[in-house]
Symmetry: C2
Subunit: 282 residues, 2 copies
């Protein structure tokens, strides 16, 4: 058991927690909590750390988690675990996870849903800075049936521990990509027939008056400043989410949710129409 | 200028920040940042505190804020301000605000939109614990045209500084009420003709297959555990937000947003139909 915060393994964990550079260099991220450790794909789960007390309370869960995997769990004293963890009241288990590596060749295709035959539904995040917001967006995107997330290079690190936690596991499954040259990447989406909508306070039409059943991407801007003009300029269409009262803007995750669920609603309705049409033909 | 953290005024501020009881006793809350101070209704703004540096940088904004009001600004040294503030990197201005006091007689009527002649659109929050989530819900509710928010007595304190901040000012405008006896309060809504929908993982129908143009209330459950069964049992109808992928649940603020924006969408569409119908009659 590790009982000192100056142990090199502990120092490395703290480094991975705090520094994007350290995470990037090792191509890993930290995930805290039993659920996040359980959901990590076995081929990506690299190390597991548990607190003394967690081992005592949850030995069965730990055994189950490690069964059939090559990973062993390292035990830390309560004090040391709290030092390494990102949460204020840690559950007592965290893991180091390797990043998913989509083939470099076709990252854009992956964002569009690959070979699944689904219409692309993509979120493009421009300079988002709130780690919790980005995590919630990843989680919501998976739920709403999005095929991928494209982020400007200056978005918050998706491997930030708070972001990882807020995804509730969707980080293991949702295709995403950082683009240093966002306009270029968005142009690639257009080349693939994806229509680009900017969520914009100055959008002329209501968001729910557009048709999102074809290939669709939504541009979402920074929490405080909205979309940068050079990014908004890439849109085929600017849409507005109508707001009542004296609200000036929506939380970025809420705006993304409104757009994605509207796309999901339209696609389900189109499918129903298509199916009932087919039965009439028969 | 106050330069010591042991000054009684500073101690009181810290107490108001940390303790729900202290806030409840004085019937006030703290709001941080220039925007939140500006948006506070003049009749409710009780005290303003600024840091030395903020005064130097923003004297014009401070003068403008205080113009025509009876409140004076108290200046704190940087160190003391940081000690009193809730944020890690404070802007340098905070205020103490009195709570809005709806007439005790008709709080439920206020939640239903009062005399505005609008169909009630109410969120009922059951045991929500995340301060940021509740603040985002209040902000989203105003934007989506909700008429009021009803909370179980064990929800997080809406006057928690983080919640106040997340509302981005909507706390000054959105009618809300805590109900120690939530079932009783929901029954009162039903008596007024409001139809009650529970957002529930086991809902049978999709949420977008229901009609929300009449008086509507959505029950939203705790972040981890969902709705308590005795609360869900009050619903006329359980609806499900369809989720793709392996997502087990949505963030509470995202679920609330999906439901409220769907209600808003239907209401706008109904209004358009109504208006075009009227022009045909002409």
């Amino acid at each position: 058991m590790i009982t000192s915060t100056s142990n090199p393994k502990v120092k490395r964990l703290v480094n991975l927690r705090k520094k994007r550079k350290a995470r990037d260099e090792e191509q890993v991220f930290l995930a805290e909590g039993l659920r996040m450790c359980r959901e990590a794909p076995a081929r990506l789960l690299r190390e597991v750390y548990i607190s003394e007390d967690f081992l005592r309370r949850e030995r069965k869960a730990v055994d189950e988690l490690l069964r059939g995997k090559e990973v062993r769990a390292e035990v830390l004293s309560e004090h040391v675990f709290a030092y390494a963890a990102d949460t204020k009241t840690p559950q007592g288990i965290l893991c180091v996870v390797s990043r998913r590596k989509p083939s470099e060749a076709d990252k854009i295709r992956e964002l569009c849903g690959g070979e699944a035959g689904k219409s692309p539904l993509i979120l493009v995040l421009d300079n988002l800075q709130d780690p919790g917001n980005v995590g919630t967006i990843v989680r919501t995107a998976e739920a709403a049936g999005a095929t991928g997330i494209l982020m400007s290079g200056d978005c918050v690190d998706i491997y930030n521990p708070k972001t990882v936690r807020s995804t509730m596991g969707s980080i293991y499954r949702m295709p995403f990509r950082y683009a240093d040259d966002l306009p270029y990447a968005v142009q690639r989406l257009k080349d693939m027939g994806v229509r680009i909508y900017a969520a914009h306070l100055e959008g002329r039409g209501d968001y729910d008056a557009e048709n999102y059943t074809g290939g669709t991407a939504f541009l979402i801007g920074n929490e405080g400043n909205g979309l940068r003009e050079e990014v908004a300029a890439l849109a085929d269409c600017r849409v507005r989410i109508p707001m009542e009262g004296q609200v000036e803007s929506l939380n970025a995750a809420v705006a993304a949710a409104a757009l994605m669920f509207e796309a999901g609603r339209q696609r389900r309705a189109a499918k129903r129409r298509c199916m009932s049409g087919a039965s009439i033909v028969k």
